[in-house]
């Protein structure tokens, strides 16, 4: 009989320890393995969450550790929910979220559908398309700042070329109407490949024989697309929307680099505002309440969405 590593480990285990372990049930051994992970999660996730909830009812400021901390009840929450500036940031975030998701889903799915065919250079093209998502958001932000430059930017020149509108007559980042779209365009450029990859995985998971059966039944390409392709890719697409939705709800770096929240407060997203409250104004209690409100919003929306996703998967 071969001397396996397990045999060697068993021989090396002191007999006193072996006796003790032998006395443990499978469940107890499972707990022994799982406990460190649970403790770690409690320490770095659950405890800070509970602590944040506690702080949200106080006037605590982290830059004044020696100042008296007062219990302010729901004041932080009422101030946030009745502040028109906060609602403006919520609106800016909703605008950003809605349009980036819409564009990324439509363009991402279209690209995946086009690329899911056998042609020469397919792999190279796929690699080129996914390049933007491999870049750092700060780099992408800088890069698009130059592209949007009214006097030297390629974006403005392209617009001039196609529409005849003079390049230096408009500023994507400086105009109140255009700035919200400028961040949508940059994010769509960067993250559409991600949605495309997930859709591509979905498309490639559809077995060929289903299409062959549909061909035999003389189903048109249009009908195949709507009754087979879309429903079978939908769970993947919804997953991509969930990932992108959560990511874009907390969007920070790209937008800070592009507009800094401006012009005015047009592109001031919730995460930028939260960071300013927490780490520039040092209103820790207030920003904790703000963070809790955002957490509950994302958690609630994500829960509803995941239920819908599960229903789609069950169909």
């Amino acid at each position: 009989m071969a001397d396996t590593p397990i045999d060697r480990l068993a021989r090396a285990t002191p007999s006193s320890l072996a006796r003790r372990v032998r006395g443990l049930s499978d469940r107890a051994i499972a707990w022994v393995f799982v406990t460190p992970t649970i403790l770690l999660l409690l320490a770095i996730n659950i405890f800070p969450l509970i602590w944040t909830v506690r702080l949200s009812f106080t006037n605590f400021a982290a830059n004044k550790p020696n100042a008296e901390v007062k219990w302010v009840g729901l004041r932080n929450y009422t101030r946030i929910l009745t502040d028109p500036d906060i609602w403006q940031t919520m609106q800016a975030t909703a605008h950003f979220l809605f349009w980036t998701l819409l564009f990324q889903v439509v363009i991402g799915f279209s690209l995946a559908w086009l690329i899911n065919r056998k042609f020469r250079g397919n792999d190279l093209l796929t690699t080129l398309i996914v390049l933007p998502m491999m870049l750092s958001p700060a780099v992408v932000g800088n890069f698009w700042t130059f592209l949007y430059e009214p006097q030297i930017g390629l974006f403005n020149y392209a617009v001039e070329f196609f529409t005849g509108i003079p390049a230096s007559s408009f500023s994507m980042l400086g105009s109140v109407t255009l700035a919200p779209w400028s961040i949508v365009i940059a994010d769509t450029w960067m993250w559409t490949p991600f949605v495309m990859l997930i859709c591509l995985a979905g498309l490639r998971s559809i077995p060929d024989y289903i299409y062959e059966a549909a061909e035999v039944d003389r189903a048109s390409k249009w009908r195949q697309f709507w009754t087979m392709t879309v429903p079978m890719v939908l769970p993947f697409l919804m997953l991509a929307v969930l990932f992108r939705g959560i990511e874009n709800f907390k969007m920070f770096d790209l937008v800070v680099q592009l507009t800094g929240g401006g012009p005015g407060s047009t592109t001031l997203l919730t995460s930028i505002e939260l960071k300013r409250e927490a780490f520039e104004k040092w209103r820790t209690g207030y920003s904790s309440a703000y963070a809790i409100i955002l957490f509950v919003t994302v958690f609630g929306l994500a829960s509803i969405y995941v239920k819908a996703l599960n229903k789609v998967k069950e169909r």
């Binding site: 006037n59 982290a62 830059n63 004044k64 500036d85 949007y148 430059e149 009214p150 006097q151 230096s168 007559s169 408009f170 500023s171 980042l173 400086g174 105009s175 109140v176 800070v256 507009t259 800094g260 929240g261 401006g262 012009p263 005015g264 407060s265 047009t266 300013r276 780490f279 520039e280 104004k281 040092w282 209103r283």
Partner: protein, 440 residues
Amino acid sequence: MKSHYLAATAAACLTLSMTQGAQAEDLTLCWAAWDPANALVELSKEFEAQSGHKMTFEFVPWTNFADRMLNELNSGGKLCDLMIGDSQWIGAGAESGHYIKLNDFFDANGISMSDFVPATVTGYSEWPKGTPNYWALPAFGDVVGWTYRKDWFARPEIQAAFKEKTGRDLTPPATFAELKEVAEFFQGREIDGKTVYGASIYTERGSEGITMGVMDVLYSFGFKYDNPDKPYDMEGFVNSPGAVEGLEFYKALYDCCTPPGASNSYMGEGIDAYKSGQVALQMNFAFTWPGFEVDPNVGGGKTGYLVNPAGPTGERFAQLGGQGISVVSYSEKQDAALEYIKWFAQPEVQQKWWSMGGFSALRSVVEDPAFAASQPYAQTYLDSMAIVKDFWAEPAYASLLQASQKRFHDYVVAGEGTAKEALDGLVQDWTEVFQDEGKL
């Protein structure tokens, strides 16, 4: 005799080794990443040679400087032994215990604050303001001023066109009204085959840019932070009719006369716009001026320097910049850090500091008869430093700044509401901050 000689030699060696052992520190100086910081690195080599200490530098770009360094101080970090912090941090530095008080050290080492330009002492060193409590040594005097294209102003065809348009000679603007007129004249004009623009002004949203720019104008229009007789009483001072007019002026200047896309410009963008020949006038801190003198495009006599123009009533003020150097209270090398400040305060070091591009605040340097002629911008710097005002230096400075950044950018760049509404809103925001601070 021989034994005495040996004993003396041994004692000298022991003293020397002990002294060197006690001094051999690795000091970290924190500041913004900009040209003067590079000059300070060079200057500090002399200190290293004299003291035996090794200097390390932590420089952060301006847009992140406050964020990064205030977080460092607030967290009690030991990264920085010496901090050249912005003038507005002095309140928080003193009240939150980030900086050590320097009065005793100054007294013990014969450093007198009366030897420094008074505005820099008030701006960079004192807290509370107007009291002899010093938390920093004035390190770098700075002020917002203007540069203009002297070579363009001197061209006969441009002078003629200006005279034809305005009926007066093209001269460096002495009032804000003139400044706008000149900027309007240059806006969109073709010079050497290139379209140029009127002026580069501060519009940056993320850190402090637009506040520095707007304040630089508002002071001369009658803006005051609060009632001189009743601190923190801001109604009618922050939003006075003059202040409203000043803010309207700033927006009009932004709308009429800035280059396309200048909606988020601060020091760096201003330098780029000016050096690349895009603008005729440029608002910027004085620290940028030495760089223009040596620039191939705008140096060598092509640039003129202007003190901030006067407002409608003839009042003339300018926004203070600059910093003082402080010893961080969390540092474990405070003695060595104080040694650096003692060395830095010496007149000969300050003289060298000025010659290397550092704006000294020592009176013996700036009041030297040769000073005004030492650089083309020296007199403008001196005149500007005589009319400075500074933003709030309260511990809640960051909250006060965030509020003004939002109100000013919303109105000037985004065009939301009126100037009166913006300033009324600012009074409301600042009142709330001071209420939270327990000062109202």
